[in-house]
Symmetry: none
Subunit: 198 residues, 4 copies
DNA sequence: AATGAATGAGCTTTCATTCAT
DNA sequence: GATGAATGAAAGCTCATTCAT
């Protein structure tokens, strides 16, 4: 990518980033089209390629940017070491809702990045994708698993919770208007359900 | 579609169906390409369009076919009314492994169909998709929920199990060789984990 | 072409010839499609290519055949030398109506052949096309032009009559049912109009 | 079609229009190929579809455009009411020669449009085609038919003249180089021939 | 810096032609 | 002899990418 992108007004940078995120998040790398990004954020086709060599480069940039921004927000949330796991897990989702203020499609995009398997970009995002995964798992490792660990299969239970949360988020984006409140409520309900079991 | 397709040798029919299923399952309707199907099953480009009006018609056929075949297999499994829910859920997955003998990508394709949102085909598969969902839910309704229902949030727990199973299947297909045994083992482990909690 | 075509039952030969004539006459060489011929006369695709190397060869055969048949009919009409030109011209059209009994689309096809300019077949039919033109012009040369020749520009007038007759025929084929009677009536009217002028 | 086509340099617009006219006029809607247009005017394939949704849309545009341009030129010729019919008819042909300066294939294309029967475009050009026919017939209705009307079948004679003129034009385009002068000379000769008869 | 016209490789679809039965 | 399934070159069309302005 062209470093001059950063000397654009922050406002325009974000307009472009959001346009790309929206289309990439919705359709994945391959089916995302330049024209749709142009329509989504009103920045001319030529400019995309002025700053980003090609679609691959654009994806690689926006994905890295999104992953880094997400990690930043996670750090800023200052989730304390020793927080109860379920509380922590909920806070992570709260954190994603905060990201939406600047980048509405970022939470969806994050899942899309993890799912992305197109060989043209899979390698390019491997590193930031892994770092993000590590950051997430670091946060989770700081949690107090005492309640959970009473159960021998607690790792499996954690996985199940994660998959459920992802599914709930996808459902939320599919509805005409994403309601962060309703989403967080659903997440809370599922977390509680598990908690009660233990 | 052209009804003459059914007068082809069953072997060839299945070769074509498998070719289409594989590519559609892996890449979704839009990104699936005719050329890849040609490569995948060695049947020429022209022949696809001899039997199926267009890509849309092909998808609609293979999706309906796959869904119907899956329902057939589910019926043949003769899952008895009153089976314990967790046992039943496992049997459903066993059933999918049986499908794989004829149509290796069908279990993956089934999930992909449910996810498919391309407006060009969404309507065409609405009906069989719904029927399959109903068939599945009918089977599940016959289960003995007594153990589960001790817990007030058992519906949420069921959802969580379903999402986990889907994720495990996706992981399995991503590995170089799909091992049904390992997959079923993983499923069993997750099911047991939940069971033990109750 | 394969000479064995002639050992087919005359009935089947004509069925194929009519099928080809119809489609070639309606759509011209290039836009005529094999499938339409199959539909038009119920003879399988493979058979066409069994007897005629390719579409070019088929066109070349059917065109030559049609032109020859037309010449034969013109000869059989025994138009006497010395017939008044206008009467003779009318008789030529009557003759075409006779052709229609066996080959309904032949009169239209004859005009289509003359118009055909596709480089792939133009050369192949050059000779029979020319012979047919000569045959026609020979017949016309035997006419009694005494009435006509009173006018110095009689050659131009003859051309004008010919173009009108062609146009009337095209109109006739465009109507849902070709009515030979109505057509011949129209031709007679136009001929008379010219006659009266002289 | 995309309205932005009109903001292209007039020169380029005409280059494209001429490319399309040439190929459509020569081969008709169906047999006209995009590649030939590309070759004919050096404008890339993609651009045609950037401005015109599809081949149908392109035909519809170029046909309408051509018909309108022809009507414009006919109006500019200021053919006076009361002109002798034969003189008027000649002036109409002179007018077509003027069109050729900008659009060399337009006169041929006009006849081709009238002949076009492909169901995919027949309806789309119905209206402008009819308007053009009306415009032409309006001009002709202003003519002084006194000489002609001495003959009871004058309507038939007019038809015959029209068909002859069309045929002469087709012949002219078939020759290696279209010579407007020779063409107009031929038209004049045929007109005179008829005139002398009356 | 910014635009969007312009390009051509690649995708879906058609159709003359071949070939196993 | 007869069929129609099968093929692949070419047609119509899309879309990432380039380039003149």
């Amino acid at each position: 990518m062209n470093e001059k992108f950063y000397s654009l007004k922050k406002e325009k940078q974000d307009k472009m980033i959001n346009g790309a995120m929206q289309i990439f998040a919705k359709y994945g790398y391959r089916h995302a089209s330049t024209d749709e990004m142009v329509r989504a954020c009103g920045v001319s086709k030529g400019l995309w390629f002025h700053y980003f060599e090609n679609k691959t480069g654009l994806y690689s940039f926006v994905a890295s940017y999104g992953l880094k921004y997400a990690m930043l927000e996670l750090n800023m949330a200052q989730i304390k070491s020793g927080t109860d796991y379920f509380e922590l897990r909920y806070k992570v989702e709260e954190c994603k809702m905060v990201m939406m203020e600047k980048y509405p499609y970022l939470p969806l995009f994050l899942y899309s990045i993890v799912r992305e398997e197109d060989p043209e970009v899979a390698d390019l995002i491997k590193e930031p994708r892994q770092k993000y995964a590590e950051a997430l798992s670091n946060i989770k490792m700081q949690a107090d698993y005492s309640t959970l660990m009473r159960h021998e299969d607690y790792l499996l239970l954690i996985d199940m919770l994660d998959y459920s949360i992802e599914a709930l988020m996808n459902d939320s984006y599919r509805s005409p208007v994403f309601s962060p409140e309703r989403y967080l409520m659903e997440v809370k309900k599922h977390i509680s359900a598990l908690q009660k079991l233990l």
